[in-house]
């Protein structure tokens, strides 16, 4: 019956645990009981989450508190899988409460039900086995990388035991909550953290500075060029791509785009690529793409300011 469409589950998942942190930006780590998602999920995938329509929380930036905005949130929110535990059948998502939907989602309580579709995402992180790996994340972009790192560590034996090098970048001390689970990883991981402002336990600077150094070291440490996995803001991805292309290392990026259906039916989540046809879908071709395929804007394509409104009928 699957007919080559994505194999995903849809239903109510019970909230097992919720943690929020941060003052300026609220981060939320949500653990949900979803064994049907957990058993199918691979790193790079996401769940499409129906956010509660609670009205108490104030929205961002001029959006009304008190009664909130009637009729929103409407669409599901795609949120990457941060962690998966097969033994307990739970999944973890890590997100920023930036809009009406995520603000409401950050207020659920253990025992509440959250309606999920997933796992979704056809383009995923390939678990390379023949070379060392460097995992590179910036800000909330670190979210999908924990699941990836854990699976890479499991595969370490096939890479002659080479450790997974994890490079993470944050803005300030306020974001330290993002990197806690990476600090808790035991064995198999070499972790370095950069912070844009001074913060204990980190190097002051950008994660791309750490990557540049790591790539120089790599040529001395390893015979094979490492595989690079990255997720983060667009300027970070552009800088990472420049670095990896210089040394000829294979790289995969996880990108995000506004999504409606999440399964490839509506064609809404177009990602500009340097190919013909010039768009792929984040939900079924991605969210992970080979870095070289993406049009990140340096060549005039890719994300750009919207043009003046077209005349003509409905699309």
């Amino acid at each position: 019956m699957t007919g080559d469409g994505p194999d995903f589950w849809q239903g109510q998942a019970e909230v097992a645990r919720i943690q929020t942190a941060g003052q300026h930006t609220v981060f939320c780590r949500l653990v949900l009981k979803a064994p049907e998602v957990a058993r199918r999920a691979v790193p790079g995938q996401f769940v499409h989450v129906l956010c509660p329509s609670g009205v108490e929380a104030a929205g961002p930036d001029g959006e009304a508190g008190d009664l909130g905005t009637p009729g929103r949130p409407f669409l599901r929110r795609p949120i990457s899988l941060h962690d998966v535990d097969l033994a307990s059948g739970t999944i973890t998502v890590l997100f920023r409460a930036v809009g009406r939907g995520t603000a409401n989602l950050a207020r659920v309580r253990p025992g509440d039900g959250v309606n999920l579709m997933g796992p979704l995402g056809g383009g995923v992180f390939p678990l390379v086995e023949d070379r060392p790996t460097i995992v590179c994340g910036g800000g909330i972009g670190v979210a999908p990388l924990l699941f990836l790192v854990k699976r890479l560590v499991d595969h370490a034996a096939r890479r002659d035991g080479a450790a997974v090098s994890v490079l993470l970048g944050i803005r300030s001390e306020d974001d330290l909550a993002l990197i806690e689970p990476f600090r808790e990883l035991t064995g198999g991981v070499e972790l370095e953290v950069a912070s844009e402002t001074e913060c204990p336990g980190t190097t002051t600077g950008l994660v791309t500075d750490l990557l540049e150094t790591a790539l120089k070291r790599a040529s001395l440490r390893w015979a094979r060029r490492p595989a690079i996995y990255a997720c983060g803001p667009l300027p970070m991805l552009m800088a990472v791509r420049r670095l990896v292309e210089r040394v000829g290392a294979p790289a995969w990026f996880s990108v995000e785009e506004r999504m409606a259906c999440g399964v490839g039916a509506c064609r809404g989540c177009a990602v500009a690529v340097r190919e013909s046809p010039p768009f792929r879908l984040a939900c079924v071709d991605g969210p992970v793409f080979e870095a070289g395929r993406l049009s990140l804007g340096e060549d005039g394509g890719g994300p750009s300011a919207p043009k003046a409104a077209d005349r003509g009928g409905s699309p």
């Binding site: 007919g3 785009e257 506004r258 999440g262 010039p278 300011a305 005349r311 409905s314 699309p315």
Partner: protein, 326 residues
């Protein structure tokens, strides 16, 4: 009807026999495979696949969608792999799913629509063509075919000559007189009309100081448009005798019955599927429940019941005191 007799949900629209009046709307259900994990297509009344053009179209740059209150704005740009890909790759799989398949057709000129009809005529497993006439007519300065009764009629007449498949014309609400458009396309040979397509709308990012969609303007769908769609169906059903397929913000069986009583012989579900993929199955069950609770034996018994101006043919006439209250 006494007790809780099992109602009959089957309907026939424009020669298409459907097991129930619930259709998936074009542009929201891909080519059917995407939701196959959750919805056995054989349980649907029919599937209308996304707008298909002669040549492949890449679609618009992102952002192509943005949420609104109770709705979605889209500016997909009619991305599709083209008619040859549809006929050779997508239609065979769909035709094997035991659900009537309708293809939605888009074009830039009357000649393109006619050529599409010619190529699709006789395609194995295809049950009908739905002409999306909301597209800009590039030969007339971009005015939508669906906004101009003469262009809409010429397009319909051209397609009518080119195919013997049932021809459904999908109307845009962005006009002053949708009933007039409906009359024009029916006179030109449409076997049925479907409505509404999306409403013109936009959203702006006040921090970035620009529209959110790349193309600025988009089309609004979802529960937000339901009252507009319902009024359009009501008016069109009072103006033409061919079947009307109603859509626009339908979420529940009760919504669907509103459209049927306004004059629709069948309904389509679109945006709701994004939020609740199983919604079409829910709507079917809820229509059935409504019919049982309110004594309707057949879907056709309900068509136009709330519409004093209903012009279509109904198989049974109703006595004045057999009004329905919900």
């Amino acid at each position: 009807m006494t007790g809780r007799e099992e109602p009959s949900l089957g309907v026939a629209v424009a020669g298409i026999e459907m097991r129930n009046p619930v259709i998936t709307a074009s542009g929201t259900f891909g080519y059917g495979r995407e939701y196959a994990a959750l919805i056995p297509l054989a349980e649907l009344g029919a599937v209308v696949v996304k707008g298909t053009s002669l040549a492949p179209r890449p679609g618009n740059p992102p952002p192509r969608t943005v949420e609104t209150a109770s709705g979605v704005l889209n500016s997909i740009g009619l991305e599709n792999p083209g008619v040859e890909h549809f006929i050779s790759r997508d239609l065979p799989w769909l035709a094997a799913q035991r659900v009537p398949v309708v293809v939605n057709v888009v074009g830039r000129t009357v000649e393109e629509y006619v050529e599409m009809a010619r190529r699709l005529d006789g395609a194995p497993g295809l049950r009908a063509i739905e002409a999306n006439i909301s597209c800009p007519n590039v030969k007339e300065g971009g005015l939508a075919f669906g906004a101009d009764p003469r262009a809409a009629a010429a397009l319909t007449a051209g397609m009518r000559q080119a195919t013997s498949l049932p021809l459904i014309v999908k109307l845009t609400p962005n006009v002053t007189d949708i009933a007039g458009l409906a009359r024009a396309v029916v006179e030109a040979g449409a076997d049925a009309v479907s409505l509404i397509n999306t409403l013109v709308g936009m959203a702006i990012d006040p921090v970035a100081r620009r529209p959110i969609l790349h193309r600025g303007i988009g089309g609004l769908s979802g529960p937000a448009v339901k009252p507009v769609a319902l009024a359009a169906v009501y008016r069109v059903a009072g103006a033409v005798t061919v079947p009307v397929i109603g859509m626009g913000g339908i979420w529940s069986g009760r919504d669907a019955v509103e459209f049927i009583m306004a004059g629709a012989s069948a309904v389509a579900i679109g945006t709701a599927v994004f939020v609740d993929p199983r919604r079409p199955l829910g709507v079917i069950a809820e229509i059935r429940e409504f019919m049982i609770n309110h004594g309707h034996r057949r879907v056709s018994d309900m068509v136009g019941l709330a519409n004093a101006t209903f012009a279509g043919r109904r198989p049974m006439s109703r006595m004045p005191d057999e009004g329905v209250r919900s």
